[in-house]
Symmetry: C2
Subunit: 129 residues, 2 copies
DNA sequence: GTATATTTGCAACACAGTCGCAAATATTAT
DNA sequence: ATAATATTTGCGACTGTGTTGCAAATATAC
């Protein structure tokens, strides 16, 4: 199982919740919220556990969170380490990474330094256009 | 008064709350949350009224909201109509617009169309660097 | 100044996310 | 495999953000 080896690699204990949540994220190419994860999980899992698990994944670098302009945080497996653009389709509501587009070349004004970026483009995705 | 003419121009009734909140926003160059607005207002104003007023301003195009990666929405007077970058200083916590940097040239993959963008860069601002 | 339309304050509510703590589960050592 | 220890889970309670219904207050139009 891929999920198991990822957990091992990050020295996280292999609990049922972590494995199921990780499997779910691995099989999706759109970002999921806590509620969406809960609804898709085959096992029962408490809200708090899902939040704690997601935070653990983010801290370990397994996943990253995506800011939603209108709604809860969503989570995806981290594939690209660079800052990339997130896209939200206003028709189907899906939020996904656009790893093709990397914005590391934004020139900030003098005296400003950057540690992190959140780029969310809202529009219509390929399927809905 | 500048605030009055702005309200008139957008055909909004000139209530005390709206004028005071608008004055406050006009005098700030950082984005403010509902709580920050409430604390700085000289008049008493209910939470709900502040939220409703801010939403009215956003709908009218007087202000726009800025997504905070970790905290409530913040609001600023809309100066530039284009999509620009927002900057959050992790030292002083201020969130401000960087109208100098305009990103309208992001090329989305085929089939994707854009209607709106939210760009938040997190780092250290000029004053705190 | 009066009538009508809009806005306000209050209270209640919905929802996202966190935390403490005891019970359950996983890991480690024997 | 079993026992001891460390970690995680579920539950409940809680905080904070933002919204809404409704009656009272205020602004606008006449």
């Amino acid at each position: 199982m891929k999920a198991i080896s990822i957990l091992e690699h990050h020295q996280l204990s292999r609990t049922e919740s972590r494995m199921e949540i990780l499997e779910l994220l691995l099989n999706k190419n759109v970002a999921l919220s806590e509620k969406e994860i809960k609804d898709e999980l085959s096992i029962k899992c408490d809200r708090a556990t899902i939040y704690r698990t997601l935070n653990t994944f983010v801290k370990s670098g397994i996943a990253h969170s995506i800011i939603n302009n209108d709604g809860p945080l969503k989570y995806v497996i981290k594939k690209a380490p660079e800052d990339h653009v997130h896209f939200k389709c206003q028709v189907c509501g899906h939020i996904m990474c656009l790893p093709q587009i990397i914005i590391d070349k934004i020139e900030l004004p003098d005296g400003f330094t950057r540690t992190e970026s959140n780029f969310l483009v809202i529009g219509t995705c390929k399927n809905c256009n």
